[in-house]
Every structure is written in C-alpha cells, then in structure tokens.
Symmetry: C2
Amino acid sequence: MTAPRGSLILVPNTLDFGIAADAPDVREVLPASVIRTAARLTHWVAENAKTTRAFLKRVDAVMPLAQPLQALHIVELPRPQKGARGAPATDLTALLDPALQGMDVGLISEAGLPAVADPGAALVQAAHTIGIPVIALPGPSSLLLALAASGLNGQSFAFVGYLPVDAAERAARIRELEALSRRANQTQLMIETPYRNEALLGALLAHLQAATRLSVSCELTMPNAFTRTDSVQGWKARPIALPADVPAVFALLAG
Amino acid sequence: MTAPRGSLILVPNTLDFGIAADAPDVREVLPASVIRTAARLTHWVAENAKTTRAFLKRVDAVMPLAQPLQALHIVELPRPQKGARGAPATDLTALLDPALQGMDVGLISEAGLPAVADPGAALVQAAHTIGIPVIALPGPSSLLLALAASGLNGQSFAFVGYLPVDAAERAARIRELEALSRRANQTQLMIETPYRNEALLGALLAHLQAATRLSVSCELTMPNAFTRTDSVQGWKARPIALPADVPAVFALLAG
C-alpha cells in the first residue's frame, strides 16, 4: 500500500514584510483560501522561519491555527551559495518527505509569491521531479502590481532581477536593457536593495535616453503606496527622492 | 478652486471568467480590500461590460453594492485596432473625466490584473500623463502563479504573449525563445487561445531541444487546477491531452 501523497502548496505572503507596528489585518491583502490553508498547514518550508512565524501569528489573529505555533514544523530553505545555482536537489527532496508521507507542505517567502523573484523554485522543481502535486494559491506580486500601475507595456515584459553594483557594469547593463526594450517593445522590470534605490534611479536617469519611460513603485498595497511613471526627461525636470528603507520596483520602456 | 481628484484604481478580477455555474465566492480568491473597493465604486472602465456586471453581481452577493448595478457607469475600453498600438490618447483621457471631477474610477479586466497581458495600459499611461493617481489593488495573476508553480527560473523571466499562428513563423519563434532562454537563463512565458492549446504544445515539443524544460498550467485557483513541468523528452515519453476550452500558460527554460 502506498500512502496518498500530500501537495506542495505555494502560499503567498503579504507585501509589507509584517514589520509595521500597525501591520494590517491579513484579510485586507490575502483571500480567504490563503488564510484558511495557512491556518491548517502543519509543515512549512520557508525563506525565513522568523518572518513565517510572524505571518502565522497574523493569520492566527483572524483564524485560529490548527496547531499551536510552537508545534508547527518550519524548515528554512538552504541559502543559495554565491555563484552557485542553488543547493543540490538531494537536500531539497528531503524537505518534501512530509508530502511523501501524505501531509501537505506549505512554501512561503518573506513577501509576495514564493519562487518568484525569491528562492523556492528549486524546491518546486524537486516536487515535480518526484511527483508531488504543486498548488499555487492566489496572492499579490509586487512585480506585477508595479507593472500594472506603470502604464508601460503589459503585453510583453521581462523581470531581470538586480543590476550590477559596479558603476561601469551597471551603465552597460542599463543600455543593454534599453536596447532589448526597444527591439521587442518589452517593458524591463528590476529591483534593488532599498538603500540603493536612489543610486539606481540616478544611474537610470544618467544612462537612459530622454524619451524612454521610467516607472518606480514603492509600498504597493500599503498606506503610502505610490507609482510614478514619466519620461526620463520628465524625471530629470521634476526630480523626487525615493525612500531608502522600502523595496522599490523599477520599470523601463524605450520611448 | 480645483476639486480634489479621484484615482484610477486597478481592480483585479477572479481567474475563472465567472462562467462556471458554480462560480465560487469571490472572497476565496480576492482579498477584502478588493471586495470593499469594488462594492463602492460607481464609475468603471472595463475590458468587457458584461463580464464586469457578472463580477459585480458576485461582489454584491457578499457585500452590497453602494448603488444598484443598473445605476453604475460602466464604459468599455476601445478595442485596439489590429496592427495599431491602441486608440489615440485623447479618447482615453475622456474616460478619466470622472476622476478629474473627484470620483474614483475602477479599471477591470475579464480575468486577473488589468493592464497585464490585457488591455488597459494605455489608460493607465493617460492617467499618469494628466496627473491622476494610480492605485493597484492586490489580486491573482495567472502568469505569475503559473511561473511560481512551474519550478522554472523565477529570478529572471519574460512574458512574450502569443506566438505566431503560421507554422513556419511559430517554429522560428520557438527556436528564438529557446535561444533567448539559454543566453540569459530566462524563463519564457506565453499564452494561447484555448482551442489552440494542443497545437501549441505539439509545436513546442517538435521544435524545442530534448533537455529544455516545459511547464503548462491550466485553471489555476480553480478546482481542476494543474501544473505539469517536465523536460521535452519527458513530455514526449508521457504525453497528456490539454483541455481545449480553458486558457493555459506555457513556460519554457532551456536545459
């Protein structure tokens, strides 16, 4: 007899990192199916165990957890080594043992959808390889909300992650992305560590052409959310300071 | 005196097209902030007025609308002409008149996030141009749920829309996307009209290399949701039939 298998369930987190003292009711940004599933899961694989416990406390406030927080099994994803493409698949398969024993396993990031602009894809791949069903629950993605709010092309777009930190390499990459955008009329989305938001904005304005449109979104789904889209020329004529303590999503479309 | 301006609010729809006889409670897939906002908005710009009314009936069932459905102002987005890049901006600006008069205007698609793989970006751009704030509410995107569930690279990905219908052009485009994917380790996402799902799958299996990984997701967030990811070789060895009546998201990553 083979026990029925559990699933790997991708559970979206809020986009606020749960750090605000006044972190809002999770029901404001997550649908009922997510809350209910998060409340019943007993096994988790997490980008960060501490923020997962903070998330589950917020869930518990609106729907009691099936087991006390202390009784839950929360395992952190192995950190990918610099330069490597993730940990060996054998390590990851062990994280799926509860699913082989019939229990559903939740995968959760610090914010937004797991495995998108975040670790976790290798675990999902391992699930497919050993035949564990993968279920993605609906939730917010800062990338796609920023794209929707930008007014740039949503029919063709790419997310390219982080730009190089070295100034010369970054300038070359910015010109490369602008050329890619022009060739395919493709919006290029990127992110940056918050304290470098201003530096990235400065580099984009320095190296993009005047007619290229640039959009910056911060704190989407939060009280101070904003999206600004303007030509590079317009950004230079009407400069604004970006916050240095919250993530931003940058998007460009060659004009 | 200038009246305070309203905002353009991007309201996500469910992913089920509201067509199922047993269309579920919208709270299962949309958060409370979306339901509350949809219930209070009196002015809408919609991809499709009929499906917007169907959506608002589902909202009304869980949170009474501020005004009767018949009293709401629902205007359809002008259909983009084949080959053109959307209607002239002047037409679109008129759709934002209520916002200039202080009323919030909702933008909504038939499914998922407006302005992403859907019309609406030109209206959002018009809002930025005339200084109407744009607010994106959190909701599901079939593209990003499919990406998360695929296990393919979520740190670098592109959405390329539809592939050409002509067989030779489609084959060339598939090889081009595989080359792009290999060069940048970038997942390539695409969609197809449901009745061509099988034809696209066949073309992908015919023209991609054996080690390239291919993922197909259908009906995410719905009862029959599934995601299958396998190598092209694996798909050929273990073929499955795709449904011809529901949208699918295809994703590939060169092996």
